[in-house]
């Protein structure tokens, strides 16, 4: 079990207190709306709030007023960020007129897109659009949060990934398998309570919601590895069962279906 210590004294802002929504524009750059709830965190009223959007070499910072008066700036445009690209967000509450000490932070916030699921639904697997050459998809497990990369060269790939039964039934189970392999086998992260805000913990909670009631075993010996692989098989099967993957696939393969 991994324990994390916080020696900095700064507070953590739970992701559930923040909602970022990307607003696509017909022309020009995309922008975002943000709602932040800092009540009960006992932060100084005059502490300043900043929201930062980042992705690779892209970075934009927006002053959102103070704790007592949250004031979104008029210009919340994401500039030259490709509208399809996945940017992450960070909220910082910073000591006012001091040395710039951070008082509270929430990082790796995945924004919602208006065309996606409801804003109150947590996104476990954000989608990013990149040039993947001849590959259709790839799972990025090395960034701050796992994301499904789709090949930007393929027309309608967003829609295909969202509703095409072939894609859904063949790709997502493998995605789920790779993610759980990373969490349970490579990272030996088996306790969802270790750091509830962490993506690995949230995926373990997801497994539980799928109906996998047992927690995966912890350890690195061969018998435990076998048990872990069995746990992953069960989690993938639960995912497929919940999403009726075989029915979807059969329907897609039946004559008359494209």
């Amino acid at each position: 079990m991994i324990r994390k210590f916080n020696y900095t004294g700064r507070k953590r802002i739970a992701r559930s207190r923040v909602n970022i929504e990307i607003i696509p524009a017909k022309t020009g750059p995309t922008s975002f709306e943000a709602s932040i709830n800092l009540s009960g965190l006992t932060l100084p009223k005059n502490a300043e709030i900043f929201i930062e959007a980042y992705r690779r070499s892209f970075f934009r910072r927006f002053a959102f007023g103070t704790v007592s008066q949250i004031t979104p700036p008029k210009d919340r445009s994401l500039g030259d960020l490709d509208p399809r690209a996945l940017a992450m967000f960070r909220i910082k509450v910073v000591e006012s007129a001091g040395k710039g000490r951070i008082l509270a932070v929430a990082d790796r916030i995945i924004p919602h897109r208006t065309e996606d699921e409801p804003a109150n639904k947590m996104c476990l697997l954000p989608v990013d659009f990149v040039d993947l050459g001849q590959s259709i998809w790839r799972l990025d497990l090395l960034s701050d949060w796992p994301s499904l990369q789709l090949n930007i060269r393929i027309e309608d790939i967003r829609e295909i990934a969202r509703s095409n039964a072939h894609f859904l039934s063949l790709v997502y189970p493998e995605v789920v398998r790779q993610i759980f392999y990373k969490i349970v086998v490579e990272e030996d992260h088996t306790d969802s309570q270790t750091d509830p805000e962490d993506w690995m913990s949230q995926w373990l909670v997801f497994a539980n919601l799928l109906g996998v009631k047992e927690v995966p075993p912890s350890g690195v010996t061969e018998p435990i590895l076998q048990d872990k692989l069995k746990w992953i098989d069960d989690a993938v099967e639960a995912f497929c069962s919940n999403n009726k993957m075989m029915e979807k696939f059969a329907q897609a393969m039946s004559p008359g279906e494209k």
Partner: protein, 243 residues
């Protein structure tokens, strides 16, 4: 009058990769210049941009020039554009992968010439990496351009691979103030020692990562970041004229 910029197609990129692989295997063939204009290996770029046959003495010269010629193009058409950056690399291959005394070339990994858009590799592209740093920091990051265009500058490699560093003007300026000798126009000797010697680049990275947890470094100037550094940086700070 220069050449109109084009983009390498999948076929062009495949042939370029084959050429790079042949160099690694010891061949000393001339670059496949024909890929730059052949309609199967390259296609029109959507914008009328011309490039000239220039000699760049540093990566900074190359970055400045590319930034200038691409300034009229929508950034989203430049960023991630594998075909564009691969074409530009082939165009300037003699400078990015020069012929050595024995007639061979040593290209290293493909991602130095063929853009890999993924965050782990994009900054390692010799031209796109330099262009990106220049776009973010202009001439305030001389440290990250130390050396000829064919070399992956160690400071750029270590700082650009960290998203929080490369996008932070204060951190990049502080690193340049500490480790760049403006008189001589080059990085100070020993600044990028691979051991974690006190005050050197790798310690700078360790310390700044710690400071980043406590301080809002994005709001700070290079000078302010320098002031936060502990005693082990005193010698470098003194050399930079900031006791």
């Amino acid at each position: 009058m220069g050449d109109l910029v084009r983009i390498l197609t999948d076929e062009g990129i495949r042939s370029f990769r084959e050429y790079l692989a042949s160099l690694r295997a010891g061949a000393s063939d001339n670059p496949p210049w024909e890929l730059l204009s052949d309609f199967r290996s390259s296609a029109n770029f959507d914008f009328n941009v011309e490039v000239e046959d220039l000699e760049f003495s540093t990566g900074l010269d190359a970055a400045k020039y590319l930034y200038e010629i691409l300034s009229t193009v929508e950034y989203s058409r430049v960023d991630q554009n594998v075909g564009l950056w691969s074409w530009l690399s082939l165009k300037y291959i003699d400078q990015l992968c020069p012929v050595r005394r024995n007639g061979s070339r040593r290209p290293g990994q493909d991602y130095r010439f063929i853009l890999e858009p993924e965050f782990r590799y994009y900054y390692r592209h010799l031209l796109f990496g330099a262009y990106t740093v220049f776009r973010l920091h202009g001439s305030k990051a001389p440290l990250l351009f130390d050396g000829p265009p064919s070399e992956m500058n160690k400071f750029r490699l270590e700082l650009a691979c960290r998203q929080g560093f490369i996008t932070n003007k204060g951190i990049i300026e502080a690193a340049s103030l500490l480790y760049y000798d403006t008189q001589r126009g080059r990085a100070k000797p020993g600044a990028a020692a691979t051991t974690r010697k006190p005050g050197t680049l790798f310690r700078f990275i360790d310390v700044v990562q710690q400071l980043d947890l406590t301080y809002d470094l994005h709001s700070m100037t290079g000078e302010q970041v320098l002031n936060l550094l502990p005693k082990e940086f005193d010698e470098w700070r003194r050399e930079a004229g900031r006791p």
